[in-house]
Amino acid sequence: MSGPSTYQPKTGVTRWLDSRLPIIRFTHDHVLTFPTPRNLNVWYTFGAILAFFLGLQIATGIVLAMHYTPDAERAFDSIEHIMRDVNSGWLIRYLHSNGASMFFLAVYIHMFRGLYYGSYKAPRELLWILGVLLYTLMILTAFLGYTLPWGQMSFWAATVITSLFSALPGIGEPIVQWLWGGFGVDSPTLNRFFSLHYLLPFVLVGLVVLHIWALHVPGNNNPLGIDVKSPRDTVPFHPYYTVKDFFYLTCFLILFAYFVFFAPEALSSPENSEHANPIVTPPEIVPEWYFLPFYTVLRSIPDKLTGVIALFAALGTLFFVPWLDLSKVRSARFRPVYKQFFWIFVADCLILGYVGANPVDATLLNTSIPLVWIGRIATLYYFAFFLVIMPLVGKLERPNPLPDSIANSVLSNAPHRTESAT
């Protein structure tokens, strides 16, 4: 996609470096001049926002690890030590805990954008799969990290989630004990969770490199979903998308700062301000908001093993999306039928989240409709969207005509403006 390099080393030192380790050329080609479709909208800035948050989580996490003690007796105290006695410890911790929520908010927007514009379709299947892999590792990392403060919800979330494996016939119990490092969630569990929680973000970084590599081979998809055909369709990444990404990142940071400074505990459970207690179960065990849709899928199915399978299938299905969508057209802009199912799917995920946030025996608002049935219908739609609607609509739908090029489509909207392609 990037075409022949236009980098010209100007000094002796850069020429020397360029013939040995062309790192400046690489940066020049992939950050500065990288040809990017000129019509990317705000939803395409979330990649940069995600990169920022991965960096922020790693930076704040490393500092937190300097003051944290992964021991069942002392973990909770060490968090309070960070909150009360470490200089700006409260800031670092709130950046990290709320950063996780923002990270997930951004990744969900990023994924929905990919689903809407068909960014997973050839030749970007691997790009999508790497993305789903990144998301899976994010889930795992967030789950491990949530255990570390060793509050009541930390402890019980760890217990419930690891116990899911006990649904496996025969090998379930040994697997759970192997995960725990004992016969219950305790110091050995906490210690290994801490170790893995520190490791996985660096695996994420490696996968992000692959993700961007896989992006830079075919180049960006775009809201029209049509290929770049001439240089008129693109602009160099810098300054066009650097400035755009920075602007929207800053807007997103305003939301982030609101949570960090004015509502730092709004997204966490009061239960987690109580020390973990293996003999007192909290009245409700509710996961963090970003896991609620999956939690509903799990709870919707009356059989435990089937529920666990459905939970993993809900995630696993995402890997096959490139081959489930049979449409020849990428962008939902030109797919009148798929577009409607897509927005129902977005609503469906929100409904799944809403159901998950409520007790199992709750009813819908002031009615007597049991939420569990709403959760079941929503679960059904979740799977039907990928397994039935995507292939069928892709086959049967008659898409609207596509524009012939990005440049014509974009620039025809503003004919009065000076046109100068790069």
């Binding site: 400035v243 602007f247 400074f261 009061p270 025996d361």
Partner: protein, 290 residues
């Protein structure tokens, strides 16, 4: 699944949320959500259900993005904690020195030192390596500002033994650890003395308090008029004492609140200015290109 089982168990004796009218209905008719959960048939012998009231709003000065603690209330609240609550409740994450920190009760260094020496804390081993004296009692020394406020009971067992089997929770994080936070605590402290609904028998060693989940709390009414004598001459009504101690405990749970909000204010201004500059740069760079 554990959640579900536990919930159903709880549902037999208590009612969880208060505002939903559907609460008065019989047990939910829907099938169970998870296999582990038995069908929710009507409870066989339900205790009389007491509706839990939602917390009353305390309208505290520290609410909202610009709220700060009332310094005098913090100091009075500490006095209430020290003279009343501390008889049963520990405050393990608060050291005497914290009381002198900015954003808190802001006692002077001298006041903190004078306060600390009145407490005795376990001493380290002496020159002979002993930690107990000739009578087998632990060696003690006067506390210093660096020491944490000593707990009223040496351990959980002792605390339960003195409190009718109930465990008075540590209060350092109580405001964060309860749904409703400061308002909840304020409601509990001022929620005693009401007539239980007809048909409700309050258990022995329990007290009716409609803001407490289940309505029956093990803590006796902790505050009385003139439980403390305020140095600043404020009338020590139950209402006043409750507001003061809730203010103090809100600080104890979130001692960096004022610093946090102050920092947040600067950060917001910075981000808004940066966002506007970036917006204009963005428009400038893209002029004519989209």
């Amino acid at each position: 699944m554990i959640a579900a089982v536990k919930r159903l168990a709880c549902a037999l004796v208590i009612v969880a949320a208060a505002s939903v009218p559907a609460l008065t209905q019989e047990a939910a008719p829907e099938p169970p959500a998870a296999s582990a959960v038995p069908p929710a048939s009507p409870p066989s012998a339900p205790a009389v259900e007491i509706e839990t009231l939602p917390p009353r709003s305390g309208n505290f000065t520290f609410e909202g993005p610009f709220g700060t603690f009332d310094r005098a209330a913090l100091q009075r609240g500490f006095q209430v904690y020290k003279d009343v609550c501390a008889a049963c409740h520990s405050l393990q994450y608060i050291a005497f020195r914290h009381l002198a920190e900015e954003g808190g009760p802001s006692l002077s260094e001298d006041q903190v030192r004078a306060l600390a020496v009145a407490y005795r804390v376990p001493a380290g081993p002496n020159e002979q390596g002993q930690t107990i004296d000739a009578n087998g009692q632990p060696l003690m020394r006067p506390a210093t500002p660096a020491d944490h406020i000593p707990p009223p009971f040496p351990n959980e067992q002792a605390a339960r033994a003195s409190n009718n089997g109930a465990l008075p929770p540590d209060l350092s994080l109580i405001v964060k650890a309860r749904l409703g936070g400061a308002d909840y605590l304020y409601s509990i402290l001022t929620g005693y003395g009401q007539q239980p609904p007809a048909g409700v028998t309050v258990g022995s060693g329990r007290f009716y308090n409609p803001y407490f989940r289940g309505g029956q709390i093990a803590m006796p009414p902790p505050l009385n008029p003139d439980s403390v004598t305020y140095a600043d001459g404020t009338m020590a009504t139950v209402e006043q004492e409750a507001r003061d101690v809730v203010t103090f405990l809100s600080w104890a749970a979130d001692p960096k609140m004022e610093e946090r909000k102050r920092t947040g204010f600067s950060v917001m201004i910075f981000l808004l200015v940066l966002a506007s500059l970036l917006y204009f740069s963005y428009q400038r760079v893209w002029y004519g290109r989209h």
